[in-house]
């Protein structure tokens, strides 16, 4: 059994607390990190989507309202884990996707957030050493881009496991540069 690095628990705790504090501060709009803001270009446009929740039945003609960025929809346009599980607003078109029936309403459902498939693509398989801005500790940095799309039931018997089986198939040809994540549905 390998010996644990001295102070390793302290280091883990520092990185964990750094992540939490930094993220919550950002979410609360209190972060003051102007040096990098805007360096990745403009914010991508968002598209309204309709989904059928896995864990809740909706009346006919109603879908739960969700959203994804244009970039994400483009990236997932050839992924059957997503394309069959979301609907565009009635009357709209986008390559790879289908629109909901003309009289369908997209409604915000209280306390519901959809399951999301997340695909993170790394630019390189090799990490670059980089110091943490808060702890000063060196860690391996790999530039990546993360895109996510909501998913719902494709049909009455569809499950999250079905969606995941299809999502994981996307990794097969990615040469280790792609990771897949799943955010559970909250009903």
């Amino acid at each position: 059994m390998g010996r644990r690095r001295p102070y390793s628990l302290v280091l883990i705790g520092a990185r964990k607390e750094e992540a939490r504090t930094k993220y919550l501060a950002f979410l609360a709009g209190r972060a003051n990190r102007p040096s990098r803001i805007g360096t990745n270009g403009n914010r991508p446009a968002s598209v309204a989507l309709g989904i059928e929740p896995f864990g809740r039945d909706l009346p006919t003609g109603v879908l739960a309202r969700a959203s994804a960025s244009v970039d994400a929809l483009t990236a997932f346009s050839d992924s059957i884990s997503v394309t069959g599980r979301v609907k565009l607003a009635p009357g709209t078109t986008r390559t790879g996707y289908t629109a909901a029936a003309a009289d369908t309403d997209f409604l915000k459902i209280a306390d519901f957030t959809p399951a999301r498939v997340i695909r993170r693509t790394y630019e390189s398989a090799t990490a670059t050493p980089r110091p943490s801005e808060i702890t000063g500790l060196i860690y391996g940095y790999r530039k990546s881009k993360s895109l996510s799309a909501p998913i719902g039931k494709e049909n009455a018997t569809d499950t999250l496991a079905d969606a995941l089986t299809e999502a994981v198939a996307d990794i097969e040809t990615a040469n280790g540069l792609v990771q897949v994540f799943l955010k559970d549905e909250e009903v």
Binding site: S8, K16, K22, Y23, L27, R30, S46, A161
Partner: protein
């Protein structure tokens, strides 16, 4: 995007896995996701999360490094559209006050 996305561990699946493997990984994913959410909400200790990650074969140190990196990239991209934000903010009055101020100013808003 949902606010938890930068803090999700990757799925340990390959196209070779069978349906039973996928179901098992789905359950494991749900458990660690709820633990990590609890840590950000302040209802679960960080040590408990690390124990959970370690039990599932995830190195906590490497995981939190990755979360830090993800958060940095999210901040750099000036991301402002988040799902589930109300639930997170409702757990911390101070956080909620700051964020609601941003909401009022149209700088930070729920996605749907």
């Amino acid at each position: 995007m949902h606010w938890i996305e930068p803090a999700l561990p990757q799925l340990f699946l390959t196209p070779d896995h069978n349906r039973s493997d996928i179901a098992t990984e789905l359950d494991a994913n749900t458990v660690r996701q709820e633990m990590i959410k609890g840590y950000f909400l302040g209802t679960i200790s960080g040590e408990a999360v690390d124990d959970c990650l370690a039990m599932q074969g995830i190195n906590p140190h490497a995981f939190w490094e990755q979360v830090n990196q993800n958060v940095d990239e999210l901040i750099a991209a000036d991301t402002t559209e988040f799902e589930g934000l109300e639930k997170l903010l409702n757990h911390d009055p101070n956080l909620a006050a700051g964020a609601l101020n941003q909401l009022d100013r149209g700088l930070l808003y729920p996605a749907v």
